[in-house]
Symmetry: C2
Subunit: 361 residues, 2 copies
DNA sequence: ATGAAAGCGCTAACAC
DNA sequence: GTGTTAGCGCTTTCAT
């Protein structure tokens, strides 16, 4: 029989190299959990716990693990973890456009912050008001296996909507509230914005009111709400249309001048204009001045969006304010509730808006 | 001995259910490649190929696979694939702020589009001009294992910069060009913008020029470039400072009025102001009008950014234009070259800017 | 508090 | 053109 000591000379597992090798495949060096574990002299699981739930490992081991991480230059691979545990901690958000002037980005920003605090990361996808390849876009988003979806722009394609419903992933349609929700909805009614603007102008003794809208869906909803309300208030004859003009998206200052010029030329008795955006309203203000029309005495102007300059124009702009940051936070909260099973599908929340009375109306 | 037929009654592997079961873990149903393969009557690899490289499978099998995908409602799991193949197709982009007015978002948008075409998805991270937890942020981004990084805002923390250098991931610092690149750099010189603005005003016979800057790093660089150039041109005495004022970020229209008022009160002989943004320039225009100063005869005004309204102001705004979309495209192209090993580390590209001459100067 | 074994869903590598 | 085998790096589960 061999002496006991022999066991130690012939270990079942050959000793491994003490420091990790660069990965064979793409990109950068790849130090793994196993490498860290070896250097720290603990098991992979202990390293995993030290990273994900430091509270449950002893202080001494925690320190050794942290040292080993620093020494090896380990970069965590949450992909592998997410894959194994089926917890990607990913939220996908579809936005019509992320460009500098996009009205959605304030909401997206506060939403992202809220998600970040809860441990989720947000991926942005652009859908560009374009229903063409929506299905493909949706499929691509789903393939990243997010735990929840936010649709800041409406998904129009019936096929894509059906697919989202079938997959049954927690989902919030945000910003605009219209139609039946696929799952949940957080936003405000654009039609109601138009309605309230018309009523407000009526309350200010305006009797010949007009609207400059954008040609995108939400702008049209505000326009329609405005026109319907104007009709109901008796501000126009049976077959006489409410004066209106639609400008292209994205709307600009010049569209305000242009729209005001067109409307005032056609209907010199117009005494109020509700505008698609504050920038358009600013254009209307400028056009009014160049025509010698006093604002608000001869012409009342109402904007939309409460842009940062609205308070600085001359006269300052009466406008409709949506608290985008609050909206973003609510979207995040609702989606997290849906993910965690706290809230049920079918949840709808109206965050409303405020008409801010300044000097232009 | 048992008859041969018994074999069929006791198969080694129990027959599997023909249609997939819902996943045990988080979220939604989970149909896998294996399920699709079973339904299509092919191997997993064939399904994988049908998805990732349809050209190499026969048309007949392709069709059967596609049918099976449709019937099972399969959702691709690119996480698993990315994990296995070490090709995440992910790009991480750090931006100071993604809010509605962020100057970076146009570049981010065109960049994202370019990446999308090349098969990459962009994840946005906010770094908020805040060096505090930059290291943690960088670590989190790296953990998602992107194939490349874009830094739209500067990473200040020396530790974070060192870490990025060590990890050796392809990386582009974008927008501002200043200092040594960690890896590659695509942008323009803010200092040069200031210098060129001063020289331009000098060429227009202005001899008492001033600047309203923002208090963020890039704004300060433009201010410094402007002041240095003004000195060099002999526009100020030895110990006499170039009139300047810094407004908080984000800058607003009112800061233009405020800054112009302060500067003009202190130095009534000022005949030109270079502004941090077009919005500030608009404020200066308004303040000038309210003081009865003729623009550009008595006061020249130069903006920065070529905002969409710059062409519509009265007088129209002379300003500095940066082609954000082109910049975004170049950033994407350079990073893709770095990822594919076409370009080498150390690449630096100046995309420049244009001074657009309109009526305000 | 720590470890060992198994396996998530997919694709690389090779065989046919 | 298609199938087989192995294993990516991590976490789950169960054992100690």
């Amino acid at each position: 029989m061999r002496p006991a000591s022999v066991k130690h000379r012939v270990p079942a597992v050959p000793p491994k190299a003490p420091l990790p090798r660069p990965s064979a495949t793409a990109g950068t060096v790849s130090v793994t959990l196993a490498d860290v574990a070896r250097v720290a002299g603990v098991s992979k699981m202990t390293v995993s716990r030290a990273l994900g739930n430091p509270g449950i490992v002893s202080e001494a081991t925690l320190k050794r693990v942290q040292d080993a991480i620093a020494r090896t230059g380990y970069v965590q691979n949450i992909l592998a973890g997410a894959f194994r545990s089926n917890r990607t901690r990913l939220i996908t958000c579809l936005v019509p456009t992320i460009g500098a002037g996009s009205v959605f980005m304030d909401a997206v920003q506060s939403m992202s912050e809220e998600f970040k605090v809860a441990g989720y990361q947000v991926i942005l996808g652009q859908c560009e008001y374009d229903a063409a390849d929506e299905e493909q876009l949706v499929e691509g988003m789903l393939a990243r296996r997010p735990e929840g979806l936010v649709l800041m722009g409406p998904v129009h394609s019936a096929k894509a909507r059906r697919r989202l419903g079938e997959v049954g992933i927690p989902l919030v349609e945000a910003w605009a509230m219209a139609g039946k929700p696929i799952d949940s909805m957080v936003g405000f009614s654009h039609e109601q914005v138009g309605r309230d603007a018309a009523r407000y102008l009526f309350s200010k003794e305006r009797r010949r009111i007009a609207v400059i809208a954008t040609d995108e869906p939400r702008g049209i909803l505000r326009e329609q709400g405005f026109i319907k309300a104007a009709r109901k208030l008796g501000l126009t004859g049976r077959n006489e249309p409410v004066p209106h003009w639609r400008c292209p998206t994205p709307s600009r200052l010049r569209h305000g001048r242009q729209g005001a010029a067109l409307l005032l030329d056609a209907h010199p008795d117009i005494d109020a204009i509700f505008c698609a955006t504050d920038l358009v309203a600013l254009g209307v203000l400028i056009e009014a001045r160049s025509r010698g029309l006093a604002v608000p005495r001869q012409l009342a102007v109402v904007g939309f969006g409460d842009a940062d300059f609205a308070v600085d124009t001359d006269p300052s702009l009466t406008t409709v304010r949506v608290d985008s940051q609050a909206l973003g936070r609510r979207v995040a909260a609702v989606l997290i509730d849906r993910i965690e099973g706290v809230a049920e599908a079918g949840y709808v929340e109206d965050v409303g808006f405020t008409l801010i009375e300044r000097d232009s109306a």
